[in-house]
Amino acid sequence: MSLLKDLSELVKANVITSDIAQQISDYYKNKQVKSPNRQLLILGIIGALLIGIGVMFIIANQWDDLSKTTQTMIAFLLLIIPQLLGAFVIIWKEDKVVWKECTALLLFFAVGSSISLISQIYQINGEMSSYLLTWMMLTILLIYVFDSSAVSIACLIGIMSYGLTHRFDSPGEPGELIFWLLMALPLPHYLKLFRKSPDHPLLILHHWVIPFVLTLSLFTAFHTEKTLIPLAYVAMFGFFYLTGNLSYFRHKPMIYNGFRIFGLAGTIVTLLIMSFQPTWKALYSSHYSLGNLITTPDFLASVILFMLASTALYLQKKGKIMKDAKLLEITFLVFLVIFILGKYTQIAYVFVNLLILALAVLTIIDGSKRMKMSVLNSGLIIIALLAVCRSFDSDIRFVVKGGMFVLVGIGFFVANWLMLKKKKENES
């Protein structure tokens, strides 16, 4: 480390005392012991992945020349070897993070491979969802046995895949409860990682994987009343955005903040979808009455998400002036009002368009005030996307559509030019 090399020079130059130099040296040595080498950890995980895939290819090459009994024995051996390695790691390498992560991930894939190999050897056809469920149930405890974040991420993606395939394999059959229970199991590990190692590279990956998985999984909760899907999604994205506002994320680079990016992008995309008139007509065609909705799990999911988002908003704005709240932070509440109004008026989509426009304008103003080109341009991009969406509307004349694009284009040039000018003035 360059800092440690410079310590003797700093002591010689009387910038720091030898005692302080020793304390600094001890601090970094201690830090190195406590936190695993990031490079080694990432390379180890990639290595475990490659070894798993490589072994499978090598076996597949010679596989067909072997008898059924030998094939079965190899399928079991592929599982037993990582299991023995796992026992070795628990007994002798308990404090080695890289060993634990790599072994756990290797075992995770070994379980999936052995089930799939046995299915192939004995011509067992079956549903993909049952396969994924068995695989996940057999491996999810590895997260806690090996304290493995890599397996936690792999399980989150696997459970999401189970939820999606179950939706297609066995729609309308019970399975949601076990899906959400499994989905909740890696979360204590995530929270522990959050508390103990806030800069762990796999924690950063969790910050992206969790909102990604929840975004794709939420619609599996909806099977009777699709009416509430947009409402639930806007509430969930609102919750993501507010989570991304936590002080932990605010003081970190953007790469840490998957929640905020998903919250922002998800809210805008959902609102853009709801800005089309036919989307609302499709909603009206389902049973859009409280009596029909209140007894469904879909309603329950929406209520839970609204409560989560509202609680997050309350906790963040407690003791502060409400007018300081950004529109994006309260979009889920505004959308709820528009959604209820949609029952009584045919112009709910107009309100959504106005909401998107307001969000874009406020983002541009915010970017301009804070002199941030990225924020300013994201506001302009929202307007551009809105213009693209409106270009699909058949009841708007071509000249109006063309005018919108020209105005947005001019807006991009003018706003960026003014911002650069302002920056130069400030610098001089």
């Binding site: 596989w63 067909d64 020349d65 079965t72 399928a75 079991f76 599982l79 037993i80 299991q83 796992g86 026992a87 628990i90 007994i91 308990e94 379980v111 052995s114 089930i115 046995i118 299915s119 192939q120 004995y122 011509q123 067992i124 056809n125 079956g126 549903e127 068995t134 057999l138 491996t139 405890l141 590895l142 806690y144 046995v145 394999d169 066995s170 729609p171 309308g172 059959e173």
Partner: protein, 202 residues
């Protein structure tokens, strides 16, 4: 008990359950072969003149033989009562030649009998009879090993296209569990079919 011992005990339990699942899969198959009833499912031949993949019949793609069956139609006057967005249960029987036929299609799991499968059914709008439902059986893929494929690929493709060639799959069935026991081509078990020399005499 220290933490390490506890972790080791939990790990051993997890590892044993990981080993038991593939073992159960194999022993379950043996049970189906012992107690299940054997059905023959006649394979639909490949038809290249149909524009839709859905109706092109069975096909060989890589190592997998994707199968469609002749007896996958079900005619019932009140099929409208069945919710096709959910899985349904097909109750099977066999004709005098031993070929499987669906005798009932119901929404809820049968309480008696063992000759049933959970299937997906849908209305095929190309069917002349609008009250007919098409059934997707869960055993619609047959894996062919590489060494067998090299020797049989051309012959198998030819047989799939030949309407005079009888191809059927033998399946043991017991309460939604099934075991593919053989694929019979022109009266030959698949094991014997691969042993036959191909056109080049290899």
């Amino acid at each position: 008990m220290n933490r390490k011992t506890l972790l080791l005990i939990v790990f051993i339990l997890v590892a044993v359950s990981q080993l038991l699942v593939p073992k159960y899969m194999i022993s379950n198959l043996a049970g189906i072969a012992r107690t299940g009833e054997e059905y023959k499912f006649k394979v639909r031949h490949q038809r290249s003149d149909f524009p839709s993949r859905e109706n092109t019949g069975s096909s060989l793609e890589g190592r997998f033989l994707f199968l469609q069956f002749v007896g996958n139609k079900y005619l019932k006057k009140d099929t409208g009562k069945i919710d096709l967005s959910r899985p349904v249960y097909a109750v099977l029987s066999s004709d005098s030649a031993g070929y499987a036929k669906v005798v009932d299609l119901i929404q809820n799991k049968p309480l008696s009998g063992s000759n049933w499968l959970k299937v997906r059914a849908y209305k095929n709008f190309r069917d002349a009879d609008t009250s007919s439902l098409t059934i997707n059986f869960p055993f619609n893929t047959y894996y062919i090993e590489d060494k067998d494929l090299k020797n049989t690929e051309d012959r198998l493709t030819g047989k799939l296209k030949d309407p005079n060639c009888l191809i059927y799959m033998k399946v043991f069935i017991r309460e939604n569990h099934f075991l593919i026991s053989d694929l019979v081509i022109d009266g030959l078990s698949f094991r014997d079919f691969v042993k036959q020399p191909d056109a080049t005499g290899k």
